[in-house]
């Protein structure tokens, strides 16, 4: 589960002047839809202050220390414990129980964790230190947005 923004960061060195087409070329982008995705991601990164526009259509990537989120902390703890219960993760992460439970369930669905009984969790597949995306949250947000659209 890689992050597209991270893939873009990997192909552009900080301080280098690039255009969306340059990035597309480096990522071997072939369709208009894929290039659109590159442009959209640049837009979000500009809003986050990670990318600056030098002149029209030319951007510079800056190295911004990303703030660690609860998901990063939970994932780090999951990897360092290997076998654990949700109480340990809640205590050491400082996140609330619902956040921990939701993310652990998401990791189970992604095949990284197994829950053999009610309290214990085991890490069965370790994809590395990069935090896997919380797909449960994405689905929940999608549902909420759809509900909002309906009520409009």
């Amino acid at each position: 589960m890689s992050n597209f923004a991270q893939t873009m960061r990997d192909v552009v060195s900080p301080g280098e002047e690039v255009t969306a087409d340059d990035i597309g070329e480096r990522l071997d982008v072939r369709t208009w839809a894929e290039l659109k995705r590159v442009r959209e991601t640049i837009k979000w990164m500009r809003q986050a202050g990670e990318v600056k526009s030098v002149r029209r259509g030319v951007y510079v990537f800056t190295r911004v220390a990303r703030k660690r989120t609860y998901l990063d902390i939970i994932w780090h703890l999951v990897r360092s414990h290997r076998s654990f219960n949700a109480d340990d993760i809640e205590r050491l992460s400082g996140a609330n129980r619902a956040t921990v439970a939701e993310y652990l369930q998401c990791l189970v669905r992604a095949g990284y964790l197994r829950k053999p009984n009610r309290t214990t969790w085991h890490l069965v597949k370790d994809p590395g230190p990069e935090t896997p995306v919380n797909s449960t949250k994405c689905k929940r947000l999608k549902r909420l947005r759809a509900r909002k659209e309906k009520t409009k």
Partner: protein, 234 residues
């Protein structure tokens, strides 16, 4: 009882030593954290590594030099992981020179002299702090090699929990105000073992709830110790 990580004296000492090592620029830094089992070394290391984004690696009994370097590569997000020791060492060096963040090695008593030498080399070249966490044996192994021991910035011992820590823990986790004498009794009976202290404080909270007591009495302390340390010689 609230499920929170309490910053005990040991945790504060751990963090202070790590901060000091980050400030020590221009010289190789090795740190060691040692103490008996159950003093909270591993919890502390996991907590701070997760909060600060440091690399946490658990040493394994069968580690060879290549296996250890490859595990370091994996934790430092080096992709692809080199298959030989020299390129693996160089990849780690490059990564740590680019992002000099601390590396915590837990269960470091399992490292033999040769592996300690590899870690010393990495610390020398990259100037990134390397913290070795283990029981008393890790200090003895480091002291045996003068070159390693002279590079050790701090050797922090995890002591048994203090009376002050118990007062702080009861206040933070259970919102309970104990007197200094009561905390001292708990410390003496539990021999400063954090797990036992946590169990006794949990029992005290239940007793206070059941009796609807506004303050903790000495009888409640005795009962909580009896219930919490059931089966032990108290």
């Amino acid at each position: 009882m609230k499920n929170i990580f309490v910053h005990t004296t040991n945790a504060k000492n751990f963090m202070n030593a790590m901060k000091e090592s980050e400030k020590a620029t221009g010289e190789p830094t090795l740190l060691t954290f040692h103490g008996e089992a159950g003093r909270g070394k591993t919890s502390c290391a996991r907590y701070f590594a997760a909060q600060e984004g440091w690399s946490y690696i658990r040493a394994l009994r069968g580690w060879s030099a290549l296996w250890m370097l490859q595990d370091f590569c994996y934790e430092l997000r080096i992709d692809p992981i080199p298959k030989r020791a020299k390129p693996a060492f160089e990849a780690i060096r490059e990564r740590l020179l680019l992002e000099p963040k601390p590396v915590l090695v837990d269960e470091a008593d399992k490292l033999d002299g040769k592996l300690l030498e590899w870690i010393r080399d990495l610390a020398d070249i990259t100037l990134a702090p390397f913290a070795l966490i283990g029981e008393k044996l890790v200090v003895r192994k480091m002291q045996r090699e003068k070159r390693i021991w002279s590079r050790t910035l701090r050797a922090v011992e995890f002591e048994p929990i203090t009376t002050k820590d118990i007062l702080f823990f009861a206040k933070q986790a259970a919102d309970m105000a104990l007197s200094a004498d009561q905390a001292e009794t708990v410390r003496r009976k539990t021999s400063g073992d954090f797990r036992l202290v946590s169990r006794v404080v949990g029992k005290l909270e239940t007793l206070a709830d059941v009796n609807k007591a506004e303050r903790i009495t000495d009888d409640m302390i005795k009962m909580a110790i009896k219930q919490g340390l059931w089966g032990r010689d108290v």
